[in-house]
Subunit: 344 residues, 2 copies
Amino acid sequence: MISTVTMKWNGNFLELIDQRKLPSVEEYVRCTNSDCVAQAIKDMIVRGAPAIGASAAFGYVLGAVENKEHLTIEAMERVKEKLASTRPTAVNLFWALERMHSKFLSEVDNEEREDVLRILNEEAERIANEDVEVNKQMGMYGQELLPKSSTVITHCNAGALATVDYGTALGVIRAAVERGKTVHAYVDETRPYLQGARLTAWELLKLGVDTTLICDNMAGWVMKTRKVDAVIVGADRIAANGDTANKIGTYSLALLAKKHGVKFYVVAPVSTIDTDISNGIDIPIEERSHTEVTEIHGFRIAPDGVGVYNPAFDVTDAKLIDAIITERGVLKYPYVESIAKVVK
Amino acid sequence: MISTVTMKWNGNFLELIDQRKLPSVEEYVRCTNSDCVAQAIKDMIVRGAPAIGASAAFGYVLGAVENKEHLTIEAMERVKEKLASTRPTAVNLFWALERMHSKFLSEVDNEEREDVLRILNEEAERIANEDVEVNKQMGMYGQELLPKSSTVITHCNAGALATVDYGTALGVIRAAVERGKTVHAYVDETRPYLQGARLTAWELLKLGVDTTLICDNMAGWVMKTRKVDAVIVGADRIAANGDTANKIGTYSLALLAKKHGVKFYVVAPVSTIDTDISNGIDIPIEERSHTEVTEIHGFRIAPDGVGVYNPAFDVTDAKLIDAIITERGVLKYPYVESIAKVVK
C-alpha cells in the first residue's frame, strides 16, 4: 500500500494524480494494467524522475500479473521494454525497471507464481518507500546549505509531485522550513509545460512558503537586482563526471547563477546517477511535441507553419554546480571522485 | 496619410492593428480621439518603442483637434501628459511628444488655428515617415554585420509591428534577406506577452525567413549546441553610456551570448537614446499586471494567491553589447563616446 498525493497503490491498481490538470483540477487516473502506466508516463500524467521510476516499478508488477499464466523471462522483458521506451532522459525509469527485473530473474525458477508476484509487489513498494526516505535525507543535508533566512530560485517541479512524496529540490526548502528557517522562493514558470507555475507554486503555497512566480526569462534579472542565495533544482540524469540533465532552462540558470555569485545546487537521489555515462554529451535529450510550444491548453499562440525546437531537457556542466545533494551526503566538485565514493 | 500594417492615419482618426489578438485575428481598432490612443498604448493594442512614439504623435494631433477652440499651452500640456503617462520605459514616447509639443509651442501664436492643426499633422506624419526611413537605414548598416549565411536569435518583437513599418532588429534580418543573404532565425516566444511567438514568428514567416520558435529558457542551450552568429534585439531606452532597457529576458540573453561567443547587437533609432540618463540604473522599469503571468488568454495557469513579479523590461550592461546599430551608423563600445558623436 502506498498513498501519497502523487500516487496510490493497493497491489491491484495504481492511481496517479493527473499532473496535466493541476492546479485547477485534482483528478486521479486509475491504471489497472501496464499499458496504462506506460501511456501515463508518456503523456506526462506522472512526471519527475523519481515519480516516473516508482510508477514504472508498479507498472512492472501489473505486467507480471497480466503474464501470470506464462511468467517467462521473455514476457517480462517485453513489459520492461514497453515501460522503458516511454521517456528517454530520466535514468530513474531504467534504474527502477532494472531493479524490478533483477528481482524477477532471481525468482524466475520459483514455481509458486503467487510468491513471485508478492515478492515483486514488495520490491516495488520498497522502491516507493525508499524514495520518500531518501528525499527526507536529502532535505536534511540540503537545508544545511541554506542561510537562516534565504532567497532561492527553483525551476520546473522537483517537489512531492515529482517523487513519491516530499520532493528533491523542494524537499530541501521543506526541510529548511521544518527547521524554522525562512525561505522566499522565486519559481520559474518553466515553459513549455509550466510545471513551475502549475505544480511548484501550488506545492509551495500549501507548504506555507513565501512564493513569487516569475517567467523563465526573468530569473537573470532577479539575480542581478535582488539578493538570491541559491538556485535549487532536481535532476533527470547525472553522468559520472557530474554533468546533469534536467529540465530545459537549467543550463542557462546555472550560467546566470555563476555570473551573479549565486550558489547552484542539484538535489537528486543516487539512483539518478548513471555511471555508465562518463559525461553529459552522451545523455539522450528527449524532444517533445511542437504543440507543447505552439498551444497552451488548446489555444494557439503561434502562426501556423512555424518551425519549433522543443528539447525537454538540457545538460549543465559539472563545473557550474556548487553541490550535488544526495541521500548519501553533499557531493562537491570534482564529481568524478565524489560520485565514485557514493556509487558502489 | 500613413498606411502600414501597424497603423493607418488619415488626419481624422488612427487605426491600430490589435496586437493582442495576432496572429489568430487581424483586426484594427479605430481611435478618433486622444483618450483612445492613450488607452491603446496602455493596453498594448500598439506596442514597440517606435510604434508607440508615432502613435502618441497622432494622439497629440487628435488632442489638438479636440482642443481646437481653446488651443492653449495648458490644454496641450494636458494632452501631452495624458499620452506620456501611459508607459514609463520606452523613451520614444516622450521623444515624439516633446517633438510635437515644441512644434506646437513654435506655432502657438499663429492665429490661424487650421494652420496650426495642419502643421501638427504634418509633423506627426513626418515622425512616422522618418521612422520607416530610419529603419531601412539601420537595416542596411546592420545586415553588413551578418555573415552570408547566418543564424540569429531574436527576442520579443522588434519588427514592422513594433515600428511604423519595416522594423528595427527584424529590419536587419529583412535587409540581409533582401540582399540575398540566408538567415535562420530562432525566435524566443517572449513570456509573458508572447510577442515572439505571436508577432515575430508571424512577421518572419511572411518575409519567407526560416523561423524556429523556442521557449525563452531554450536560448542558452541553442547557443551551446547549435551554431549561432548573433542575438539581435531592439531597445526601449538607451542611456548615455549604452546601457540598454529592452524586453525582460534581454539581459540574460546578453550574458548567455557573451558566454558562448555569440555577437550581441541592439538595433534602435537615435530617438531611443536618452542622454539625460547617464546609465541604466536610472531607467524606470515598468511592472505590469500579475495576470499577464498567471493567465494565458483567460486560462488560469497558476494557483490562486501566488505572488508574482512581472517586470516588463530589464537593463543590459553596455559592456555586453557588441554594437548598437542606429540610422547614423554602427556604434561601438565605449558608447559614452560613440553615442555622444551621433547625438547632437
